[in-house]
Amino acid sequence: MKIREIASLLGADVLCGEAQLDEDVESACGSDMMSDVLAYVKDQGVLVTGLVNPQVIRTAMMMDMRCIVFVRSKRPTPDMLDLAKEHHICVLASGSRMYEACGKLYANGLGNEACANG
């Protein structure tokens, strides 16, 4: 799924990383606990979270993620966006709640091979 499609499905604003909107991502992880992201995530390109602090961006960097979606209308600080830009991470912000955001992405095939393959 292209990052552009994620933004569209979630009615999200693109806060930085417009240049990456046409990149493809295969799967996602939804969590507010960064230690769990560091423990369990593998090859997931998108982090969906409602947590706002610079460690969210660093965690995504550590995991080589391409895109962060902030849910529940949370807005990252300018410092966080600078950090994301520096490391070419696309940042989206959506009014959706976590459950709804993850559900929409999964139902549309992100990280859901059965659905993605038709």
Partner: protein, 146 residues
Amino acid sequence: MAEALRFHYDVDGDNFTSAGAASVEVKRKLRQLGFDAETIRRVSIAMYEGEINMVVHARGGSADVYVDKDCITIILADSGPGIPDIDLAMQEGYSTAPDNIRALGFGAGMGLPNMKRYTDEMKIDTVLKKGTTVTMKVYINTNKQA
């Protein structure tokens, strides 16, 4: 590489915002040196968790990374309170981090277990009220599945 490359960082203990900056820097350097993505990820995640630990529990410390041709060694040293029961600290889910740290997305009791998970060797030397030194090694070209 005839001799190990060494990188040294001071980890500021008063600033949770900047915690992890050294790990980001190491990740960048390892990329420049041409290591494979999986090795880089393992080293930087283990070091990142360690850095967060030093900031949360020990008011900072120092981080040294040695890059050899067959192994990357990370040594994290602090002058914090020490770890009273290492076996307990190694259990997933056990944490002594305060609630304000949990609100920041850490303190789930996954730090030390994650450090062990992503490295090939990990040794903890700790003395109560004196400090803790964690030494981690990641072998290059081994494929430990995290």
